[in-house]
Amino acid sequence: MSGATLEARVTVDRGRYTLQAEVHADAGEVVAVMGPSGAGKSTLFGALAGFVDLDEGFVHLDGRTVDAASGPHVTPRDRGIVLLGQEPRLFPHLTARENIAFGPRARGTVRATARADADVWLERVGLAGMGGRRPAELSGGQQQRVALARALATSPRLLLLDEPLTSLDPETAGGIRELLSAQLRETGTTALVATHDAADAASLASRLVILEDGRVTQTGAVQAVMDAPATPFVTIIAGTRPHRGPAGLQARIVQVDEDEDGLAARARTADGAEVVLRLPIGTAIAPGATITVG
């Protein structure tokens, strides 16, 4: 299973404050959730993952109810929603390989297969040959890579990333951000990313949900939200995003691939950043062309 469509409207009454939020993510879409500390991002994720009870509302995955205040409550185990937080929470008594193999093993994959798959994952997250190490023998960034591999190895229907880069130094965070972006795209995983960094939202997500004081105050395409802040909070984060000229970003198409979903055009900017544009089949585009990303 992979990349489900998420449709959720959750109300969680915590006495001091109430979370009342609606989120939607298409299959394979990455949606960023931004908000001040205490806005309810973690509560929202906990509710989606099934660790926090709903007082009202529902969580639908691919149209099926996995949680509702009045109705069924699919246990976290059977939900296929994996939460990856600020702390990697690797099992300290298991090696990196065993950590990654844990999910598939728990779901019945035979040990040898799960371990072989884990080694493939280690390679994908840039840790080939480190499978035998315990979490304590890995750096913070390496641990977060293992945690990401462990989450993706279960082919989650929805991946919840709760500030996965916050506790890392900027250089490490940059590497993980790129890895996240690439792996989420490759695996077609539906994901919500809670972050307080506009750069993360811009580089990982296509849509942005602003959560303030338990309520969604603004939502839309990342760029659209940043360009038209509806609240003081959005104005502040819009000011912190990477600076971009008024005319947009010039990028040159370096590669065009076609698959059953359409065209994937890889574009590179003058300073070396790369974006992949998904285009309908038949779009007239070829390597060498220059485009403007608005």
């Binding site: 929603i81 099992f91 999910g103 728990a106």
Partner: protein, 267 residues
Amino acid sequence: MSRRGYAPPILVVPALVGLAFLVLPLAALVGKVEWSSLWSDITSPQALDALSLSLTTGLVATAFCVVIGVPLALLIARASGRQASVLRAIVTVPLVLPPMVGGLSLLFLFGRSGWLGWTGWQIPFSTTAVVMAQTFVALPFLVLALEGALRTSGIAYEQTAAALGAGGWTIFWRVTLPLAGPGLLSGVILCFARAIGEFGATALFAGNAPGVTQTMPLAIYTAFNGAGVSQGSAVALSLLLLVTAIAVLLLVRAWRPSTPTSVKGVG
């Protein structure tokens, strides 16, 4: 040195008296050991009976403590604050209770005229009674040691495991228990040590029949009342218990270094 703090230096005198008070009796015991006959004292038939009975009942009692103590520790560790305090207090009672009172209580529950007397079970004054008395006094050691470890490791890893698709038993065997492993091990060691040293509850509830209920502590006591094993054997058995105690201490410390940083990877 500032590390010594500002306590009056004279306090070192009572401190040393205290230390001597703990060490000298044990030194006297070791001094009393007839080294030439140590082997034959330990291997005399009566001493061997007591030794093997202690080992067997101690191991069975420890196994029993694991089977009922691990779930009990889990129950307390995952209970809410108030419930946990009440449960922990209940478990602590046998720890502070004079073992004699424990033995008497067991007798009033399982004895012929006790609450469960109507069942016709012939438990008191049998080897089963020895195991039950040991379990009664040793269980708190295992439960409290493990409960602390389980509480420290928390449920965050269990949640992670659940989200990855693991069921209750998988989480229990592959996450919960291994994370609390050091606590479980030191709990088991302490539990076994308490079980083989048990005297009071055993004496009242199980009696003092050689080969059936006469464990090492009872054999030692009997020897100095002029019956059973020789006094030489009693001293030899005492030495054995002392050595066991020291070994237990070293084992527990080896598995649980004194600094709290040992739980860092778990916390």
